[in-house]
Structures are given as C-alpha cells and as structure tokens.
Symmetry: C2
C-alpha cells in the first residue's frame, strides 16, 4: 500500500509541446504497480495552460484549487474547485489557469487502450 502526501511526489515539467507554466506529479502510476490507470496532479501557474489537443484516450478530471477555463469545441467554461470533467477519447480540449491562484487538478488516464 502506498500512502504519501501529494507534495511528497516530485513535480516535473511535462514533455509536451504547447504546455506552458505547468507541472505534473505522477501520484499513482505503473511504478507503484498500477496496471489500469494513472493519477496525475497538474499545477498551472499564472498564465499556464495545457495544449489544445485531442487523443484517443479519455481524461477523468477533478479540480482541487484555483480557477480556470475549460476549452472545448463548444467554447470556454469556467472551472472551479469541485468540478469534474470527463473528456471522451478524441475530444478536443484545453485547460487554462485564470485569476491569481495556482490551478490544481487531478487528471487520470488509462494505461489500457492508451496507444
């Protein structure tokens, strides 16, 4: 059983074009024996954003702290703590920080079917 605080897990710079002022913590991953899905925590500093992109796996997102915008092909929506987002495979999406505080959210992805 792994039991730590999220701040005990290193914040890394994601290796992804279009991600700005973002760090990622791989809270639970294959390294821990997780075979089906991974839990990551993203922190977007002021002006931070994830890339505007699509891919053939889903996201399951829970917003922890801060404010932001969820961008989809339908436009922009406000993100606030306690919000959940399910991004289906192949849906275009982007997360943007807004306001003064760091935007923190969990984003889980599958290992299976993630090619």
């Amino acid at each position: 059983m792994k039991h730590v605080h999220y701040t005990d897990v290193e914040a890394e710079i994601p290796n992804e074009e279009g991600a700005e002022n973002v760090t990622i913590r791989w809270l639970i991953s294959e390294k821990d024996g997780a075979k089906n899905f991974a839990m990551r925590l993203f922190e977007l500093q002021k002006g931070g954003c994830s890339p505007w992109h699509q891919h053939d796996w889903e996201h399951e997102v829970f917003v922890l702290e801060g404010k932001g915008k969820l961008v989809s092909e339908e436009g922009e929506e406000e993100l606030k703590p306690g919000d959940i987002v399910f991004v289906s495979p192949m849906e275009w999406h982007q997360f943007k920080q807004d306001g003064e505080d760091v935007l923190k959210f969990l984003c889980l992805i599958p290992y299976k079917d993630k090619k």
Copy 2:
C-alpha cells in the same frame, strides 16, 4: 464532454455490508461512457467507515477534506487532505472518519479486471 460540480451528482447509500454513515457519488462512470475506470466520491459522516475488506481490484484514492484513519494489516495511519493511497489488489483495507468534519475522498476503480 461532461462538466458538472460534484454536488450535482446524487449521493447514494452504498449497497455494501459494513459501510456505516457513508454516501457515494458516482462522478464519472460507465453511464458517462467511461470504459476503463470510474471516479467515485465518498463522504463519511461522524463515526463513518468503509468495510474492513479485500478484493481483487485496486483503489486509487485522493483525500479532499476532513480527517480519518487508513487501516491496513500494518495498523492505522492518519489521513489528511492531499493524501494519496494506492491499495493494490487483495490488500486488506478500511477507511474511517475521524474528528468533527466530514471525511471526503475520491476513490477510483477499474472496470477492466474488476470481477
């Protein structure tokens, strides 16, 4: 894309022997098209606990609010907001509320390999 606040999702009484003063919200599930894993939010009121049990699928847990105890075969550990727990398949485990406030945590489970 599904985007709602967690309080928009109904809190249900889990149909599980040994769960006391607990509700579960299925935030993201098969109903939403999630094929690989489900995101649930548990709320344990004062004196609440999940059953002391084991099963052949894993849990990926993130503590949101409140205090509690994580019980394993190694004993009890304190749970606080920001804690993450990875419970491997077949590990015995239990979550218990502690203190005055509601213990809220996310607990994600796989659909695949969940028999």
